[in-house]
Protein backbone atom coordinates (compact mmCIF):
# COMPACT_ATOMS: atom_id res chain seq x y z
CA UNK A 1 0.00 0.00 0.00
CA UNK A 2 1.37 3.31 -0.96
CA UNK A 3 -1.34 5.57 0.34
CA UNK A 4 -1.47 8.14 3.02
CA UNK A 5 -4.44 6.16 4.18
CA UNK A 6 -2.18 3.27 5.07
CA UNK A 7 -0.26 5.52 7.40
CA UNK A 8 -3.39 6.51 9.22
CA UNK A 9 -4.98 3.07 9.50
CA UNK A 10 -2.59 2.09 12.26
CA UNK A 11 -3.46 5.20 14.22
CA UNK A 12 -5.37 4.45 17.44
CA UNK A 13 -9.06 5.39 17.27
CA UNK A 14 -8.57 7.21 14.04
CA UNK A 15 -11.67 7.20 11.95
CA UNK A 16 -10.89 7.31 8.28
CA UNK A 17 -13.90 9.32 7.35
CA UNK A 18 -15.07 8.43 3.88
CA UNK A 19 -15.92 12.06 3.30
CA UNK A 20 -12.41 13.16 3.84
CA UNK A 21 -10.12 10.65 2.34
CA UNK A 22 -11.78 9.34 -0.80
CA UNK A 23 -9.39 10.27 -3.53
CA UNK A 24 -11.60 12.39 -5.70
CA UNK A 25 -12.86 14.44 -2.84
CA UNK A 26 -9.42 15.15 -1.53
CA UNK A 27 -7.91 15.71 -4.91
CA UNK A 28 -10.47 18.28 -5.94
CA UNK A 29 -9.88 20.35 -2.85
CA UNK A 30 -7.47 23.17 -3.32
CA UNK A 31 -7.14 23.98 0.35
CA UNK A 32 -7.13 20.44 1.68
CA UNK A 33 -4.93 21.59 4.53
CA UNK A 34 -7.86 23.48 6.03
CA UNK A 35 -10.10 20.44 5.52
CA UNK A 36 -7.51 18.31 7.20
CA UNK A 37 -7.47 20.54 10.25
CA UNK A 38 -11.26 20.89 10.41
CA UNK A 39 -12.11 17.22 9.93
CA UNK A 40 -9.12 15.31 11.22
CA UNK A 41 -7.04 17.35 13.59
CA UNK A 42 -9.64 19.27 15.60
CA UNK A 43 -11.81 16.23 16.47
CA UNK A 44 -8.72 14.61 17.94
CA UNK A 45 -7.80 17.56 20.14
CA UNK A 46 -9.04 18.06 23.72
CA UNK A 47 -12.22 20.12 23.65
CA UNK A 48 -10.81 23.13 25.46
CA UNK A 49 -8.08 23.43 22.85
CA UNK A 50 -10.30 22.59 19.91
CA UNK A 51 -12.68 25.46 20.59
CA UNK A 52 -9.92 28.01 20.25
CA UNK A 53 -7.80 26.32 17.64
CA UNK A 54 -6.74 28.88 15.03
CA UNK A 55 -7.68 27.05 11.83
CA UNK A 56 -6.17 29.71 9.60
CA UNK A 57 -2.85 29.68 11.37
CA UNK A 58 -2.93 25.89 11.48
CA UNK A 59 -3.47 25.78 7.72
CA UNK A 60 -0.39 27.85 7.15
CA UNK A 61 1.54 25.57 9.50
CA UNK A 62 0.35 22.46 7.65
CA UNK A 63 1.45 24.01 4.37
CA UNK A 64 4.83 24.85 5.87
CA UNK A 65 5.09 21.29 7.11
CA UNK A 66 4.45 20.00 3.58
CA UNK A 67 7.11 22.30 2.21
CA UNK A 68 9.38 21.15 5.01
CA UNK A 69 8.96 17.52 4.01
CA UNK A 70 10.08 18.35 0.50
CA UNK A 71 12.97 20.51 1.62
CA UNK A 72 14.07 17.68 3.87
CA UNK A 73 13.58 14.79 1.46
CA UNK A 74 14.44 16.21 -1.94
CA UNK A 75 18.07 17.12 -1.09
CA UNK A 76 18.55 13.44 -0.31
CA UNK A 77 17.95 12.73 -4.00
CA UNK A 78 21.14 14.48 -5.16
CA UNK A 79 22.98 12.64 -2.41
CA UNK A 80 22.04 9.39 -4.13
CA UNK A 81 21.95 10.64 -7.71
CA UNK A 82 25.38 12.29 -7.65
CA UNK A 83 26.92 9.05 -6.47
CA UNK A 84 24.90 7.13 -9.07
CA UNK A 85 26.05 9.52 -11.76
CA UNK A 86 29.69 9.06 -10.80
CA UNK A 87 29.35 5.31 -10.62
CA UNK A 88 27.55 5.16 -13.97
CA UNK A 89 30.18 7.40 -15.54
CA UNK A 90 32.91 5.24 -14.11
CA UNK A 91 31.36 2.06 -15.46
CA UNK A 92 30.95 3.65 -18.88
CA UNK A 93 34.65 4.51 -18.84
CA UNK A 94 35.76 1.18 -17.44
CA UNK A 95 36.68 2.58 -14.03
CA UNK A 96 35.33 1.86 -10.58
CA UNK A 97 34.42 5.39 -9.50
CA UNK A 98 34.62 6.56 -5.88
CA UNK A 99 35.63 3.63 -3.68
CA UNK A 100 37.36 5.06 -0.61
CA UNK A 101 34.69 6.68 1.58
CA UNK A 102 32.35 4.11 3.02
CA UNK A 103 31.63 0.69 1.52
CA UNK A 104 32.05 0.92 -2.28
CA UNK A 105 32.35 4.68 -1.93
CA UNK A 106 28.71 5.09 -0.96
CA UNK A 107 29.45 7.90 1.50
CA UNK A 108 31.49 9.93 -0.98
CA UNK A 109 28.71 12.44 -1.69
CA UNK A 110 28.13 12.95 2.01
CA UNK A 111 31.82 13.71 2.47
CA UNK A 112 31.70 16.12 -0.48
CA UNK A 113 28.64 17.79 0.98
CA UNK A 114 30.34 18.31 4.34
CA UNK A 115 33.35 19.68 2.52
CA UNK A 116 31.17 22.15 0.61
CA UNK A 117 29.48 23.37 3.79
CA UNK A 118 32.84 24.27 5.34
CA UNK A 119 34.21 25.97 2.25
CA UNK A 120 34.53 29.72 2.03
CA UNK A 121 31.46 31.45 0.67
CA UNK A 122 33.20 33.72 -1.80
CA UNK A 123 31.38 36.75 -3.19
CA UNK A 124 32.99 38.53 -6.14
CA UNK A 125 33.84 42.05 -4.91
CA UNK A 126 33.03 43.68 -8.26
CA UNK A 127 29.75 41.84 -8.67
CA UNK A 128 26.27 42.70 -7.60
CA UNK A 129 26.18 41.37 -4.07
CA UNK A 130 22.42 41.33 -3.50
CA UNK A 131 21.54 39.52 -6.70
CA UNK A 132 24.53 37.20 -6.30
CA UNK A 133 23.23 36.10 -2.94
CA UNK A 134 19.63 35.84 -4.13
CA UNK A 135 20.11 33.85 -7.36
CA UNK A 136 20.70 30.36 -5.89
CA UNK A 137 17.57 30.69 -3.78
CA UNK A 138 15.39 31.52 -6.78
CA UNK A 139 16.61 28.48 -8.69
CA UNK A 140 16.39 26.29 -5.60
CA UNK A 141 12.89 27.49 -4.70
CA UNK A 142 11.56 27.05 -8.23
CA UNK A 143 12.93 23.56 -8.66
CA UNK A 144 11.35 22.63 -5.35
CA UNK A 145 8.04 24.29 -6.15
CA UNK A 146 7.68 21.94 -9.11
CA UNK A 147 7.44 18.99 -6.72
CA UNK A 148 4.26 20.43 -5.23
CA UNK A 149 2.28 19.38 -8.29
CA UNK A 150 3.79 15.95 -8.96
CA UNK A 151 1.53 13.12 -7.82
CA UNK A 152 3.79 10.46 -6.37
CA UNK A 153 0.90 8.20 -5.56
CA UNK A 154 -2.84 8.15 -5.48
CA UNK A 155 -2.96 10.37 -2.41
CA UNK A 156 0.67 11.33 -2.08
CA UNK A 157 0.60 14.77 -3.55
CA UNK A 158 0.76 18.20 -2.03
CA UNK A 159 -1.63 20.14 -4.13
CA UNK A 160 -4.07 18.52 -6.51
CA UNK A 161 -4.78 21.65 -8.43
CA UNK A 162 -6.66 21.74 -11.54
CA UNK A 163 -3.93 23.29 -13.68
CA UNK A 164 -1.13 21.00 -12.45
CA UNK A 165 0.93 20.61 -15.58
CA UNK A 166 0.48 24.23 -16.57
CA UNK A 167 1.65 25.32 -13.13
CA UNK A 168 4.75 23.16 -13.53
CA UNK A 169 5.55 24.80 -16.85
CA UNK A 170 5.04 28.25 -15.34
CA UNK A 171 7.23 27.64 -12.32
CA UNK A 172 10.00 25.97 -14.29
CA UNK A 173 10.09 28.91 -16.69
CA UNK A 174 11.07 31.12 -13.75
CA UNK A 175 14.30 29.15 -13.28
CA UNK A 176 15.68 31.11 -16.24
CA UNK A 177 15.42 34.29 -14.19
CA UNK A 178 17.61 32.78 -11.49
CA UNK A 179 20.14 31.64 -14.07
CA UNK A 180 20.33 35.10 -15.64
CA UNK A 181 20.56 36.66 -12.20
CA UNK A 182 23.45 34.40 -11.23
CA UNK A 183 25.28 35.00 -14.49
CA UNK A 184 24.92 38.74 -14.47
CA UNK A 185 25.67 39.39 -10.83
CA UNK A 186 28.91 37.39 -10.89
CA UNK A 187 30.55 40.07 -13.02
CA UNK A 188 32.41 37.42 -15.00
CA UNK A 189 32.26 36.88 -18.72
CA UNK A 190 32.08 33.12 -18.35
CA UNK A 191 29.09 33.44 -16.10
CA UNK A 192 27.33 35.95 -18.31
CA UNK A 193 27.94 33.89 -21.47
CA UNK A 194 26.76 30.77 -19.71
CA UNK A 195 23.61 32.39 -18.43
CA UNK A 196 22.74 33.89 -21.82
CA UNK A 197 23.26 30.51 -23.47
CA UNK A 198 21.17 28.86 -20.84
CA UNK A 199 18.37 31.38 -21.15
CA UNK A 200 18.29 31.09 -24.95
CA UNK A 201 18.27 27.32 -24.71
CA UNK A 202 15.59 27.05 -22.06
CA UNK A 203 13.31 29.58 -23.76
CA UNK A 204 13.69 27.76 -27.09
CA UNK A 205 13.15 24.26 -25.79
CA UNK A 206 10.15 25.31 -23.75
CA UNK A 207 8.19 25.47 -27.02
CA UNK A 208 8.50 21.82 -28.13
CA UNK A 209 8.14 20.84 -24.48
CA UNK A 210 4.87 22.71 -24.14
CA UNK A 211 3.57 21.49 -27.48
CA UNK A 212 4.24 17.86 -26.64
CA UNK A 213 2.51 18.34 -23.30
CA UNK A 214 -0.41 19.75 -25.26
CA UNK A 215 -0.91 16.46 -27.11
CA UNK A 216 -1.40 14.75 -23.76
CA UNK A 217 -3.73 17.48 -22.55
CA UNK A 218 -5.77 17.15 -25.76
CA UNK A 219 -6.29 13.44 -25.18
CA UNK A 220 -7.02 13.67 -21.46
CA UNK A 221 -8.98 16.91 -21.72
CA UNK A 222 -7.59 18.12 -18.42
CA UNK A 223 -4.54 19.94 -17.13
CA UNK A 224 -4.71 18.19 -13.78
CA UNK A 225 -1.88 15.75 -13.11
CA UNK A 226 -4.26 13.48 -11.20
CA UNK A 227 -6.68 13.32 -14.11
CA UNK A 228 -3.82 12.60 -16.50
CA UNK A 229 -2.66 9.65 -14.42
CA UNK A 230 -6.16 8.34 -13.83
CA UNK A 231 -6.80 8.24 -17.56
CA UNK A 232 -3.97 5.70 -17.85
CA UNK A 233 -5.33 3.19 -15.38
CA UNK A 234 -6.00 0.29 -17.77
CA UNK A 235 -2.59 -1.26 -17.91
CA UNK A 236 0.46 -0.65 -20.01
CA UNK A 237 -1.36 -0.12 -23.31
CA UNK A 238 -3.51 2.63 -21.87
CA UNK A 239 -0.41 4.60 -20.93
CA UNK A 240 -0.44 7.74 -22.96
CA UNK A 241 2.79 6.87 -24.76
CA UNK A 242 1.06 3.96 -26.53
CA UNK A 243 -2.35 5.59 -26.83
CA UNK A 244 -1.66 7.14 -30.23
CA UNK A 245 1.40 7.11 -32.51
CA UNK A 246 1.60 10.87 -32.01
CA UNK A 247 1.98 10.73 -28.26
CA UNK A 248 4.71 8.16 -28.82
CA UNK A 249 6.64 10.77 -30.80
CA UNK A 250 5.64 13.45 -28.29
CA UNK A 251 7.20 11.44 -25.47
CA UNK A 252 10.59 11.48 -27.13
CA UNK A 253 10.34 15.17 -27.97
CA UNK A 254 9.31 15.86 -24.39
CA UNK A 255 12.13 13.82 -22.93
CA UNK A 256 14.85 15.25 -25.16
CA UNK A 257 13.59 18.79 -24.64
CA UNK A 258 13.56 18.31 -20.91
CA UNK A 259 17.17 17.13 -21.03
CA UNK A 260 17.88 20.44 -22.75
CA UNK A 261 15.82 22.27 -20.13
CA UNK A 262 17.90 20.88 -17.29
CA UNK A 263 21.13 21.70 -19.17
CA UNK A 264 22.58 18.22 -19.32
CA UNK A 265 24.87 16.73 -21.93
CA UNK A 266 24.43 16.65 -24.93
CA UNK A 267 22.81 20.03 -24.31
CA UNK A 268 25.15 21.30 -21.60
CA UNK A 269 26.37 24.36 -23.49
CA UNK A 270 25.49 26.67 -20.58
CA UNK A 271 28.11 24.93 -18.49
CA UNK A 272 30.47 23.69 -21.16
CA UNK A 273 33.63 23.10 -19.15
CA UNK A 274 35.98 23.36 -22.09
CA UNK A 275 34.63 26.70 -23.25
CA UNK A 276 33.26 28.74 -20.37
CA UNK A 277 34.63 27.08 -17.22
CA UNK A 278 31.33 26.23 -15.52
CA UNK A 279 28.84 28.62 -17.01
CA UNK A 280 26.54 30.65 -14.86
CA UNK A 281 27.76 29.22 -11.56
CA UNK A 282 31.47 29.71 -12.20
CA UNK A 283 31.90 32.23 -9.39
CA UNK A 284 29.92 30.35 -6.78
CA UNK A 285 31.54 28.36 -4.04
CA UNK A 286 30.68 26.53 -0.87
CA UNK A 287 27.07 26.02 0.06
CA UNK A 288 25.72 28.32 -2.64
CA UNK A 289 27.35 26.14 -5.26
CA UNK A 290 25.85 23.13 -3.51
CA UNK A 291 22.41 24.74 -3.84
CA UNK A 292 22.87 24.90 -7.63
CA UNK A 293 23.97 21.30 -7.61
CA UNK A 294 21.03 20.14 -5.53
CA UNK A 295 18.66 22.09 -7.76
CA UNK A 296 20.16 20.52 -10.86
CA UNK A 297 19.70 16.97 -9.64
CA UNK A 298 16.28 17.75 -8.18
CA UNK A 299 15.32 19.12 -11.60
CA UNK A 300 16.56 15.99 -13.27
CA UNK A 301 14.38 13.89 -11.01
CA UNK A 302 11.45 16.26 -11.45
CA UNK A 303 11.44 16.22 -15.26
CA UNK A 304 11.70 12.43 -15.23
CA UNK A 305 8.81 12.27 -12.79
CA UNK A 306 6.77 14.55 -15.03
CA UNK A 307 7.56 12.38 -18.06
CA UNK A 308 6.44 9.32 -16.10
CA UNK A 309 3.25 11.06 -15.02
CA UNK A 310 2.37 12.30 -18.48
CA UNK A 311 3.34 9.36 -20.63
CA UNK A 312 4.27 6.30 -18.58
CA UNK A 313 1.25 5.89 -16.37
CA UNK A 314 2.38 7.70 -13.23
CA UNK A 315 1.46 5.58 -10.24
CA UNK A 316 -0.63 3.19 -12.36
CA UNK A 317 0.79 -0.28 -12.89
CA UNK A 318 1.50 -2.43 -15.92
CA UNK A 319 -1.57 -4.63 -15.51
CA UNK A 320 -4.97 -3.24 -14.59
CA UNK A 321 -5.88 -4.22 -11.04
CA UNK A 322 -2.39 -5.37 -10.09
CA UNK A 323 0.23 -3.23 -8.46
CA UNK A 324 3.11 -4.28 -10.72
CA UNK A 325 5.20 -1.16 -11.35
CA UNK A 326 2.43 0.79 -9.69
CA UNK A 327 2.00 2.86 -6.58
CA UNK A 328 4.82 4.86 -5.08
CA UNK A 329 7.52 2.18 -5.64
CA UNK A 330 6.51 1.79 -9.28
CA UNK A 331 6.52 5.51 -9.78
CA UNK A 332 9.98 5.85 -8.30
CA UNK A 333 11.32 2.91 -10.32
CA UNK A 334 10.01 4.34 -13.58
CA UNK A 335 11.38 7.77 -12.73
CA UNK A 336 14.78 6.44 -11.80
CA UNK A 337 14.86 4.45 -15.04
CA UNK A 338 14.45 7.72 -16.94
CA UNK A 339 17.11 9.36 -14.76
CA UNK A 340 19.44 6.49 -15.62
CA UNK A 341 18.63 7.05 -19.29
CA UNK A 342 19.68 10.68 -18.89
CA UNK A 343 22.97 9.62 -17.32
CA UNK A 344 23.49 7.05 -20.05
CA UNK A 345 23.02 9.73 -22.71
CA UNK A 346 25.31 12.10 -20.86
CA UNK A 347 28.22 9.71 -20.86
CA UNK A 348 27.63 8.48 -24.40
CA UNK A 349 27.02 11.55 -26.54
CA UNK A 350 29.31 14.50 -27.24
CA UNK A 351 28.12 18.05 -26.74
CA UNK A 352 26.17 19.80 -29.50
CA UNK A 353 27.32 23.07 -31.04
CA UNK A 354 25.14 26.15 -30.58
CA UNK A 355 23.87 26.09 -34.17
CA UNK A 356 23.10 22.36 -33.99
CA UNK A 357 21.25 22.94 -30.76
CA UNK A 358 19.06 25.66 -32.24
CA UNK A 359 18.57 23.76 -35.51
CA UNK A 360 17.39 20.70 -33.64
CA UNK A 361 14.88 22.76 -31.71
CA UNK A 362 13.53 25.13 -34.32
CA UNK A 363 13.83 23.10 -37.51
CA UNK A 364 12.99 19.62 -36.25
CA UNK A 365 11.29 19.52 -32.86
CA UNK A 366 8.87 22.40 -33.28
CA UNK A 367 7.53 21.31 -36.71
CA UNK A 368 7.25 17.72 -35.53
CA UNK A 369 5.48 18.89 -32.37
CA UNK A 370 2.98 20.88 -34.42
CA UNK A 371 2.43 17.87 -36.66
CA UNK A 372 1.81 15.85 -33.50
CA UNK A 373 -0.87 18.25 -32.35
CA UNK A 374 -2.60 18.10 -35.71
CA UNK A 375 -2.33 14.32 -35.73
CA UNK A 376 -3.64 13.98 -32.19
CA UNK A 377 -6.62 16.15 -33.09
CA UNK A 378 -7.43 13.98 -36.11
CA UNK A 379 -6.93 10.82 -34.06
CA UNK A 380 -9.33 12.18 -31.46
CA UNK A 381 -11.92 12.77 -34.18
CA UNK A 382 -11.55 9.24 -35.59
CA UNK A 383 -11.44 7.49 -32.21
CA UNK A 384 -13.37 9.61 -29.72
CA UNK A 385 -13.09 6.79 -27.15
CA UNK A 386 -10.14 4.53 -26.49
CA UNK A 387 -11.16 1.14 -27.69
CA UNK A 388 -9.26 -2.08 -28.20
CA UNK A 389 -9.23 -1.35 -31.93
CA UNK A 390 -7.71 2.10 -31.54
CA UNK A 391 -4.99 0.82 -29.24
CA UNK A 392 -4.15 -2.11 -31.55
CA UNK A 393 -3.98 0.24 -34.54
CA UNK A 394 -1.84 2.67 -32.56
CA UNK A 395 0.60 0.01 -31.44
CA UNK A 396 0.78 -1.43 -34.95
CA UNK A 397 1.61 1.99 -36.38
CA UNK A 398 4.24 2.57 -33.70
CA UNK A 399 5.77 -0.86 -34.40
CA UNK A 400 5.89 -0.34 -38.17
CA UNK A 401 7.18 3.20 -37.73
CA UNK A 402 9.96 2.00 -35.46
CA UNK A 403 11.04 -0.66 -37.97
CA UNK A 404 11.05 1.88 -40.81
CA UNK A 405 12.96 4.42 -38.70
CA UNK A 406 15.48 1.76 -37.69
CA UNK A 407 16.06 0.69 -41.28
CA UNK A 408 16.43 4.23 -42.59
CA UNK A 409 18.71 5.22 -39.73
CA UNK A 410 20.81 2.10 -40.29
CA UNK A 411 21.18 2.80 -44.03
CA UNK A 412 22.07 6.47 -43.63
CA UNK A 413 24.58 5.70 -40.94
CA UNK A 414 26.11 2.95 -43.05
CA UNK A 415 26.47 5.26 -46.06
CA UNK A 416 28.38 7.88 -44.09
CA UNK A 417 32.08 7.88 -44.98
CA UNK A 418 34.43 7.16 -42.16
CA UNK A 419 36.11 10.33 -40.90
CA UNK A 420 39.69 10.38 -42.09
CA UNK A 421 42.31 10.90 -39.42
CA UNK A 422 44.23 14.02 -40.34
Amino acid sequence: MSDFRAMFVGFPDFNVSENFFPNIDLQDKLNWAEEFIQNVLIPRLPEAVAAHFPVELGTILVMFACAGIFVAVVPLLPLVLVLAERKVAARFQNRTGPMRVGPWGTLQTLADGIKLIFKEDFIPPQGDKLLFLLAPYIIFACSFAVFAAIPFGQSILVSPFNIGIFYIMAISSVIVMGVIMAGWSSNSKWSLLGSLRSAAQIVSYEIPLGLSILTVVMLVESLSMVAIVESQSNGVFSWLIFRTPFTFIAFFIFFISSIAEVNRTPFDLPEAESEIVAGFHTEYSGMRFALFFIAEYANMFAVSAIAVTLFLGGWEGVLPGYDILGGLPGFVIKTLALVFLMMWLRWTLPRLRVDQLMNLCWKYFIPIAFFNILGTGIWGLIFPEDTLVSIIISCAIIYIGLIIAYTIAGRTLAQKPEPQPS
Binding site: E56, N162, I163, A170, S173, M177, I180, V203
Partner: protein, 172 residues
Protein backbone atom coordinates in the same frame (compact mmCIF):
# COMPACT_ATOMS: atom_id res chain seq x y z
CA UNK B 1 -9.56 43.81 10.48
CA UNK B 2 -9.58 40.32 11.82
CA UNK B 3 -6.83 37.94 10.98
CA UNK B 4 -7.91 35.39 8.44
CA UNK B 5 -5.87 33.39 6.02
CA UNK B 6 -7.41 35.13 3.04
CA UNK B 7 -6.69 38.58 4.42
CA UNK B 8 -3.17 37.57 5.24
CA UNK B 9 -2.57 36.25 1.73
CA UNK B 10 -4.23 39.19 0.08
CA UNK B 11 -2.30 41.86 1.95
CA UNK B 12 0.90 39.90 1.54
CA UNK B 13 0.53 39.79 -2.21
CA UNK B 14 -0.70 43.37 -2.38
CA UNK B 15 2.30 44.58 -0.41
CA UNK B 16 4.60 42.53 -2.61
CA UNK B 17 3.07 43.95 -5.79
CA UNK B 18 2.97 47.60 -4.76
CA UNK B 19 6.29 47.60 -2.95
CA UNK B 20 8.23 46.03 -5.79
CA UNK B 21 6.41 48.19 -8.34
CA UNK B 22 7.64 51.23 -6.43
CA UNK B 23 11.15 49.80 -6.54
CA UNK B 24 10.88 49.31 -10.32
CA UNK B 25 10.40 53.04 -10.87
CA UNK B 26 12.74 54.33 -8.16
CA UNK B 27 15.78 52.07 -8.43
CA UNK B 28 18.62 53.48 -10.56
CA UNK B 29 20.07 50.17 -11.74
CA UNK B 30 18.10 48.85 -14.72
CA UNK B 31 18.80 45.20 -13.97
CA UNK B 32 17.59 45.68 -10.41
CA UNK B 33 14.47 47.32 -11.80
CA UNK B 34 13.90 44.32 -14.10
CA UNK B 35 14.23 41.88 -11.22
CA UNK B 36 11.88 43.97 -9.10
CA UNK B 37 9.44 43.76 -11.98
CA UNK B 38 9.65 39.99 -11.62
CA UNK B 39 8.46 40.27 -8.02
CA UNK B 40 5.65 42.59 -9.13
CA UNK B 41 4.50 40.12 -11.76
CA UNK B 42 4.61 37.33 -9.21
CA UNK B 43 2.53 39.42 -6.85
CA UNK B 44 -0.06 39.99 -9.54
CA UNK B 45 -0.06 36.26 -10.30
CA UNK B 46 -0.62 35.65 -6.61
CA UNK B 47 -3.59 38.01 -6.63
CA UNK B 48 -5.01 36.06 -9.56
CA UNK B 49 -4.66 32.83 -7.59
CA UNK B 50 -6.35 34.58 -4.71
CA UNK B 51 -9.26 35.37 -7.03
CA UNK B 52 -9.31 31.66 -8.00
CA UNK B 53 -8.27 32.49 -11.54
CA UNK B 54 -5.59 29.80 -11.56
CA UNK B 55 -5.20 29.53 -15.31
CA UNK B 56 -4.71 33.26 -15.64
CA UNK B 57 -2.09 33.22 -12.87
CA UNK B 58 -0.02 30.49 -14.53
CA UNK B 59 -0.33 32.25 -17.89
CA UNK B 60 0.85 35.46 -16.26
CA UNK B 61 3.96 33.75 -14.95
CA UNK B 62 4.73 31.90 -18.20
CA UNK B 63 4.20 34.86 -20.50
CA UNK B 64 5.51 37.74 -18.43
CA UNK B 65 8.21 36.21 -16.25
CA UNK B 66 9.32 33.35 -18.49
CA UNK B 67 9.02 35.26 -21.74
CA UNK B 68 8.83 39.02 -21.72
CA UNK B 69 11.02 39.68 -18.69
CA UNK B 70 13.72 37.35 -20.03
CA UNK B 71 13.66 39.30 -23.29
CA UNK B 72 13.89 42.61 -21.39
CA UNK B 73 16.92 41.33 -19.50
CA UNK B 74 18.49 40.07 -22.71
CA UNK B 75 18.02 43.49 -24.22
CA UNK B 76 19.46 45.27 -21.19
CA UNK B 77 22.49 43.02 -20.94
CA UNK B 78 23.35 43.04 -24.62
CA UNK B 79 22.90 46.73 -25.32
CA UNK B 80 23.76 48.86 -22.35
CA UNK B 81 27.25 49.10 -20.94
CA UNK B 82 26.33 51.64 -18.33
CA UNK B 83 23.72 50.30 -15.99
CA UNK B 84 23.58 53.20 -13.58
CA UNK B 85 21.79 55.93 -15.44
CA UNK B 86 20.92 59.42 -14.38
CA UNK B 87 17.74 60.18 -16.21
CA UNK B 88 17.12 63.88 -16.70
CA UNK B 89 13.48 64.74 -16.53
CA UNK B 90 12.38 68.04 -17.94
CA UNK B 91 9.44 69.98 -16.67
CA UNK B 92 7.35 69.41 -19.79
CA UNK B 93 7.82 65.64 -19.54
CA UNK B 94 6.91 65.72 -15.89
CA UNK B 95 3.71 67.58 -16.65
CA UNK B 96 2.78 65.27 -19.52
CA UNK B 97 3.55 62.19 -17.47
CA UNK B 98 1.53 63.52 -14.58
CA UNK B 99 -1.47 64.16 -16.81
CA UNK B 100 -1.29 60.65 -18.30
CA UNK B 101 -0.92 59.07 -14.87
CA UNK B 102 -3.83 61.07 -13.49
CA UNK B 103 -6.03 60.15 -16.46
CA UNK B 104 -5.18 56.47 -16.02
CA UNK B 105 -5.90 56.64 -12.31
CA UNK B 106 -9.29 58.27 -12.94
CA UNK B 107 -10.13 55.67 -15.55
CA UNK B 108 -9.20 52.75 -13.27
CA UNK B 109 -11.05 54.20 -10.30
CA UNK B 110 -14.16 54.70 -12.45
CA UNK B 111 -14.00 51.12 -13.64
CA UNK B 112 -13.56 49.83 -10.09
CA UNK B 113 -16.44 51.99 -8.81
CA UNK B 114 -18.74 50.92 -11.62
CA UNK B 115 -18.13 47.21 -11.49
CA UNK B 116 -21.26 45.87 -9.80
CA UNK B 117 -19.96 42.38 -9.10
CA UNK B 118 -17.05 43.83 -7.16
CA UNK B 119 -19.27 45.18 -4.40
CA UNK B 120 -21.21 41.97 -4.00
CA UNK B 121 -18.12 39.83 -3.76
CA UNK B 122 -17.96 38.19 -0.38
CA UNK B 123 -15.69 35.45 0.76
CA UNK B 124 -17.99 32.67 1.90
CA UNK B 125 -15.33 30.02 1.48
CA UNK B 126 -16.90 28.39 -1.56
CA UNK B 127 -14.59 27.21 -4.27
CA UNK B 128 -15.41 28.53 -7.68
CA UNK B 129 -15.33 26.04 -10.54
CA UNK B 130 -12.06 25.83 -12.46
CA UNK B 131 -11.71 28.51 -15.09
CA UNK B 132 -9.70 26.61 -17.69
CA UNK B 133 -12.64 25.00 -19.43
CA UNK B 134 -14.64 28.20 -19.52
CA UNK B 135 -11.74 30.19 -20.96
CA UNK B 136 -11.25 27.56 -23.64
CA UNK B 137 -14.95 27.55 -24.51
CA UNK B 138 -15.09 31.34 -24.72
CA UNK B 139 -11.97 31.70 -26.82
CA UNK B 140 -12.24 28.79 -29.23
CA UNK B 141 -15.95 28.15 -29.38
CA UNK B 142 -17.62 31.37 -28.39
CA UNK B 143 -17.81 35.13 -28.77
CA UNK B 144 -14.07 35.71 -28.52
CA UNK B 145 -13.06 33.46 -31.40
CA UNK B 146 -12.57 36.33 -33.85
CA UNK B 147 -10.52 38.58 -31.52
CA UNK B 148 -8.42 35.56 -30.59
CA UNK B 149 -7.68 34.77 -34.23
CA UNK B 150 -6.96 38.44 -34.99
CA UNK B 151 -4.45 38.56 -32.14
CA UNK B 152 -2.85 35.35 -33.41
CA UNK B 153 -2.41 36.86 -36.86
CA UNK B 154 -0.99 40.03 -35.31
CA UNK B 155 1.55 37.99 -33.35
CA UNK B 156 2.43 35.99 -36.45
CA UNK B 157 3.06 39.23 -38.36
CA UNK B 158 5.27 40.48 -35.53
CA UNK B 159 7.16 37.18 -35.54
CA UNK B 160 7.78 37.28 -39.29
CA UNK B 161 8.77 40.95 -39.03
CA UNK B 162 11.27 40.20 -36.29
CA UNK B 163 12.76 37.35 -38.30
CA UNK B 164 13.02 39.60 -41.36
CA UNK B 165 14.74 42.42 -39.48
CA UNK B 166 17.19 40.14 -37.76
CA UNK B 167 18.12 38.35 -40.99
CA UNK B 168 18.90 41.55 -42.89
CA UNK B 169 22.48 41.71 -41.69
CA UNK B 170 23.24 38.29 -43.11
CA UNK B 171 22.31 39.32 -46.64
CA UNK B 172 24.56 42.38 -46.74
Amino acid sequence: MDFTLTNFIFYGFALMTVGSALLVVTVRNIVHAAFSLMVTLFGVAGLYVFLQADFLAATQVIVYVGGILVLILFGVMMTSGRLEMRIHIERGQLLLGGVVALALLTLLLTVIANTPAWKNLTDDGTELPPTTEKIGELILNGPFLLPFEVVSVLLLVALIGAALISRKEVRD
